[in-house]
């Protein structure tokens, strides 16, 4: 069992403080959604938790040891990260891109049989097997998003950190992605996502972390964390959480001026 923990994080973005005194402990086997308005520091926090930036204060711990003390390759084996704006420079085949996810595991001789098997599993899990031979730059936004989820899964990490993985996904593929994240958590991985869709977050996540005004506004199960007061403070909206037959639902009634 591995535990990812933020302890007193103080984070900058573009030279300005976006978050201070962020402490949170993440257990594996759960899906956690990080919510907050634009500029609240969701991506900044996720990058710090992935060990991709150095906080000006506090630290990120993986199994009680400082994450940044871990050699990059070892860190990359344990934490998979999907950036918000996928950048793809060359017209590589989807299978080759997914294979890049095996880089932290590669020996001197390139992809082994075991690596290829992991790539196959990742392609299947993200439902992009039929796209495997396609040039990734010719895919639609949603197809590309799924291919990049497969890329992160190929490394078979203990933690999956995804920054807005739903951008560009149609409703059906969004549901499939949700099932995938839930299944990963069911298999014992830890999943951390930043999201904008409140209803989606409420139904998908075991735990919600709401950021706003440079700190954590709420942290807990959806029904506890997504109160009208918290949503008003985080987004400046008037919203209510409601239980329906399909699960939780967030009704947005208007905005506070």
């Amino acid at each position: 069992m591995t535990v990812l923990e933020a302890r007193g994080l103080h984070l900058l973005a573009g030279g300005h403080t976006v978050l201070s005194q962020v402490s949170a402990r993440f257990e594996p086997g759960q899906v956690t959604a990080i919510l907050g308005a634009n500029g609240a520091g969701k991506s900044t926090l996720l990058a710090a938790l992935a060990g991709l930036s150095r906080p000006v204060g506090g630290e990120v711990l993986l199994d009680e040891a400082p994450l940044l003390d871990l050699p990059p390759r070892r860190r990359a084996r344990r934490l998979g990260f999907i950036p918000q704006i996928p950048e793809i420079a060359w017209g590589l085949e989807v299978r080759t891109v997914v294979g890049l996810g095996r880089l932290p595991w590669l020996g001197a001789r390139g992809l082994s049989g075991e690596d290829e098997a992991a790539v196959d599993r990742a392609l299947a899990a993200a439902r992009v097997e039929d796209l495997a031979a396609r040039d990734i730059t010719t895919l639609s936004g949603g197809e590309r998003a799924r291919a990049l989820i497969a890329r992160a899964l190929a490394g078979e990490p203990e933690w999956l950190l995804a920054d807005e993985p739903y951008a560009g996904l149609d409703p059906r593929h969004a549901l499939e992605a949700g099932d995938l994240f839930r299944r990963l958590a069911g298999e014992g991985a830890g999943v951390l996502l930043t999201l904008h869709d409140l209803t989606l977050a409420a139904r998908l996540a075991d735990r919600i972390l709401v950021l706003g005004h440079g700190r954590v506004l709420a942290d807990g199960p959806p029904a506890k964390a997504m109160t009208p007061e918290v949503l008003a403070a985080a987004y400046g909206i008037d919203a209510r959480l409601r239980t329906t037959e399909q699960g939780l639902s967030v009704d947005i009634l208007g905005r506070w001026s």
């Binding site: 990058a47 950036p83 950048e87 590589l92 890049l100 880089l103």
Partner: protein
């Protein structure tokens, strides 16, 4: 186009290289056919003293430029990158011109021959470091090309200043002749001065392969895969600095090899940057060797300089590339 497996492409390039090397030993003002390749024939001296070092140097320089181009294109994620376009070659040339200007290379003036490659490599290294420094915060095609423009202007101004202030017409003549880029009348001493540095640079560049692949996913993507960006930049700067710097030091500026070679190989091998490094070294050697044979065969009063010929061929190629890119962007 149909992809061809890497070993087949490498084997094909190697065969082409061997055939061209044989042709390079034969071709020139004096034709030396195969049956004259013995110590008994007086023409053997031409082969031994002129053609063998020239041929080997063409291979060394071509490999250095080809792989540097492939590595820079991989790192910048920009198919228009190459040591010439990004100003690295000009900075190396500036270093070499400074050593020519002050006579560092001439033993009679208290200098040593190896100071010229050293100055050129220092120039190239500074060039790559400035390039990486200028583009560190906002890497992107535009910043890289602009940084290259800046370096080219600065280096060009430095070279012009050296010509302007040159103490005598011979110094001007020497600098201008050398700047045009050529393999004519190079000796084993030139080979000794460049080959070890080029070899070291190429080895360093080969180690960047996986990082270049990972950079396909952007800097954050590469970092999340456990790639150390600072380590990659250091390897790249040292590798290109040594390889391109040492070749510019002995041959002057030969442009467009680094730009063209990866382009010609991509249709066969695919665009994965690591897979292009070694084939680009071989491909660059093939192109420089072929070009050098061609300039020897052009029936002109003075030999057309290789650097001039490459620029004449490379210009239209670059233009074509721009037009294709523009169509893709629009």
């Amino acid at each position: 186009m149909k992809r061809i497996s890497t070993p087949v492409v490498i084997a094909g390039l190697a065969v082409a290289l061997v055939l061209l090397a044989a042709a390079s030993l034969m071709a020139g003002r004096v034709w030396v056919p195969l049956n004259a390749w013995t110590g008994a024939d007086p023409r053997w001296v031409i082969i031994l003293e002129l053609r063998i070092p020239r041929t080997l140097l063409a291979i060394v320089v071509g490999a250095a430029l080809g792989m540097s181009g492939a590595a820079l294109q991989g790192y910048t994620r920009n198919p228009l990158a190459d040591p010439g376009v990004l100003g690295v070659s000009s900075m190396a040339a500036l270093g070499a011109v400074i050593s020519l200007y002050f006579g560092f290379y001439a033993p009679v003036l208290g200098g040593a021959p190896w100071l010229m490659p050293l100055c050129a490599m220092a120039g190239a290294l500074i060039g790559v470091l400035v390039l990486i420094g200028l583009t560190g915060q906002a890497p992107g095609t535009v910043t890289f090309v602009l940084a290259g423009v800046v370096l080219n202007i600065v280096a060009g101004a430095g070279v012009a200043l050296a010509l302007n202030l040159a103490p005598n017409p011979w110094a001007v003549n020497e600098i201008v002749n050398w700047l045009m880029g050529s393999l004519t009348d190079r000796s084993f001493a030139d080979l000794q001065m460049s080959a070890p540095f080029v070899a070291a640079g190429l080895v360093l560049l080969l180690f960047t392969g996986r990082a270049l692949d990972a950079l396909t996913l952007g800097e954050t993507g590469a970092q999340s895969l456990g790639i150390s960006l600072s380590c990659t930049r250091l390897l790249l700067a040292l590798g290109v600095g040594l390889a391109a710097g040492a070749s510019v030091a002995v041959t002057g500026v030969i442009g467009f090899v680094g730009l063209v070679t990866p382009h010609l190989l991509r249709p066969f091998l695919g665009p994965r940057p690591a897979g292009l490094l070694l084939p680009s070294a071989l491909g660059g050697a093939v192109i420089v060797l072929a070009g050098d044979i061609l300039v020897r065969l052009i029936p002109s009063a003075a030999e057309v300089r290789l650097g001039v010929a490459m620029a004449a061929l490379g210009g239209p190629f670059f233009l074509g590339l721009l037009l294709i890119q523009r169509r893709r962007l629009s």
